[in-house]
């Protein structure tokens, strides 16, 4: 088999899309995800919050970052899936960042590279 690449995909998404995305990712063979609470701002100008009658513009909006490392799953399929779930058509839907990884190591077994990513359970 030709040498395949390991990709890391970081998707910054609306928090309310997380559950749906997580379920969908498992159906396309993603073997694991890491999720963090993040704050960010992009083209969205933010929202307004009201405290004691005073309007406070909030630029940094709460978002969720989903980190997905893939080896067998096709990159384009993953990107399409994320877009399909997370696209509401409004500003603030988020971004997807893709990078190539040098390697990966599974801590329990010591397997490296693609073997550390794929699901090799029977």
């Amino acid at each position: 088999m030709e040498t395949r690449k390991i990709y890391k995909v970081e998707a910054i998404i609306r928090p309310e899309k997380l559950d749906e995305l997580k379920d969908k990712l498992y159906t396309i063979g993603v073997t694991g995800i890491t999720v963090s609470d993040v704050y960010g701002c992009g083209l969205t100008r933010g929202q307004k919050e009201i405290y004691r009658g005073q309007v406070i513009p909030i630029n940094l909006m709460p978002k969720v970052k989903v980190e997905i490392v893939i080896y067998e799953t096709p990159l384009q399929k993953l990107i399409d899936t994320i877009r399909e779930v997370c696209n509401s058509g409004h500003v603030g839907d988020g971004k997807i960042f893709v990078s190539e990884l040098v390697t990966a190591v599974k801590i329990r077994t010591g397997e490296t590279g693609g073997d550390a990513i794929i699901d090799n359970q029977p």
């Binding site: 919050e49 009201i50 004691r52 009658g53 513009p57 909030i58």
Partner: protein, 434 residues
């Protein structure tokens, strides 16, 4: 307020007078039980204020802000024992302050002191009043949180309690106090507690200066559930605050309980409606603020006005407080961080005025008839009480801030402020995730 008369007069005590040989010094189990419970209710308000204020600040200042309230329990219980009670209620000196005869609670024992409370032990009266003396300085912290150094704050409130609260308490409530002798009515502390603390908070806020992010950065509450927790216990405790102030388990107590509930909940509803109309959303902090504003408004009149007056006070107080917090503060750009002035100062003045308008002897024989009952003259002592409270608060607070500054730095540096006072002042952090 004429407390000594109040305790001797209520109709509820008449049967005791009929059967007891010495009614003037007879301890009454019902009164003792009620005032003891009311004392506990007022005591929980200081921790409650800590949570209320702690939730309203940014997370890096949570502990510091809560400590500004909690430390009052420690400082003012000791101060009250040492000399605070004596200065407030001890034998009169010139109508302005008590002397030191009762320092160390000397002579303040288990017998009643008929001057203040004929049917409960003097020591119980002292404890009930102590709960107020603890709470009031904590309210002042609302104006100056997130930028004041903790040692300076502790020194400041100790002096403030001694030179503002104790004299004001004496003038309005102490035997021989000149505002009391004018006939001013302040049932549970509209002028003594809310006017003084609110105007002092404003003065201190202006002198200490704005927070460095005020008007430029994002400053918003970090934990609104804490605000709700604090408001819950403030609300509950305030029933003891207002109804216990008569120091008897009587019909006036029952009316004060009803007035407290009517005014606070009406005010909460009014604030919610204002929020909805002006900003399209009913905010949680707004509802909590409205409840507190109503409580402040009804405090001075709780035992002197009827239910309809309480409803009117509940309708009007939050409108005025909302105007000061949302409009006046924004226009004049003073950094009254948690609206101690906007809520307590403004609400306290309004409540004290409304007491003079609505008070009636039909509710409390020991009170007075007010403006609507055909006695406009009642407004004179009311306004005098307010003005004296404001002048005392502003002038003495200004002096005290300067005096404290001679001994220790009052203002945190920009760097300290940016890092947050939890770590800088206390060496702790509120939320450790790892």
């Amino acid at each position: 307020m004429k407390r000594s008369v109040l305790f001797a007069c209520p109709a509820a005590l008449m049967p005791i007078a009929a059967f007891a040989a010495e009614p003037a010094s007879e301890l009454n189990a019902g009164d003792m039980a009620y005032v003891a419970v009311a004392t506990l209710l007022v005591l929980i308000m200081t921790p409650a204020l800590g949570f209320f204020y702690g939730g309203l600040v940014r997370r890096k200042n949570t502990l510091n802000t809560m400590m500004m309230s909690f430390i009052c329990l420690a400082i003012f219980t000791v101060q009250w024992f040492l000399f605070g009670y004596s200065l407030s209620f001890g034998p009169d000196v010139g109508g302005v302050i008590g002397n030191l005869d009762w320092a160390f609670l000397s002579g303040v024992g288990m017998d009643a002191n008929p001057d203040y409370s004929a049917t409960i032990p003097h020591i119980l009266f002292c404890m009930f009043q102590m709960a107020f003396a603890i709470l009031t300085p904590a309210i002042v912290s609302g104006g100056i949180v997130e930028r004041t150094r903790f040692p300076a704050y502790c020194l400041f409130i100790l002096l403030w309690g001694t030179f503002v609260y104790d004299p004001m308490c004496h003038m309005v409530w102490g035997v021989g106090g000149f505002i009391r002798d004018m006939g001013a009515l302040d049932f549970a502390g509209g002028t003594v507690i809310h006017v003084t603390s609110g105007f002092s908070a404003l003065t201190a806020a202006i002198l200490i200066g704005k927070r460095k992010d005020f008007g430029t950065g994002v400053i918003r509450p970090h934990n609104i559930p804490y605000v709700c927790l604090g408001a819950s216990f403030l609300w509950l405790g305030w029933f003891g605050f207002n109804s216990g102030a008569g120091l008897t388990s009587s019909a006036v107590m029952a009316q004060a309980l009803a007035n407290t509930g009517i005014a606070s909940c009406t005010a909460g509803l009014v604030w919610a409606i204002l929020d909805k109309v002006i900003h399209q959303k009913v905010t949680t902090v707004g509802l909590m603020t409205g409840l507190v504003a109503g409580l402040v408004g009804i405090t001075p009149g709780a035992g002197f006005v009827d239910s309809a007056a309480a409803f009117f006070i509940g309708l009007t107080t939050p409108c005025i407080c909302y105007f000061f917090i949302a409009v006046v503060k924004a226009k004049f750009k003073y950094d009254d961080a948690l609206d101690a002035f906007g809520c307590h100062g403004v609400g306290g003045v309004w409540g004290a005025l409304m007491t003079g308008v609505f008070c009636t002897k039909a509710v409390n024989e020991a009170g007075a008839d007010g403006l609507l009952a055909g006695n406009p003259a009642q407004m004179i002592p009311q306004i005098t009480g307010i003005l004296v409270g404001i002048v005392m608060a502003v002038v003495i607070t200004a002096i005290l801030i300067k005096v404290v500054g001679l001994f220790t730095r009052v203002r945190a540096t920009a760097s300290e402020e940016a890092q947050g006072l939890d770590f800088i002042e206390h060496g702790e952090r509120s939320y450790n995730k790892l």
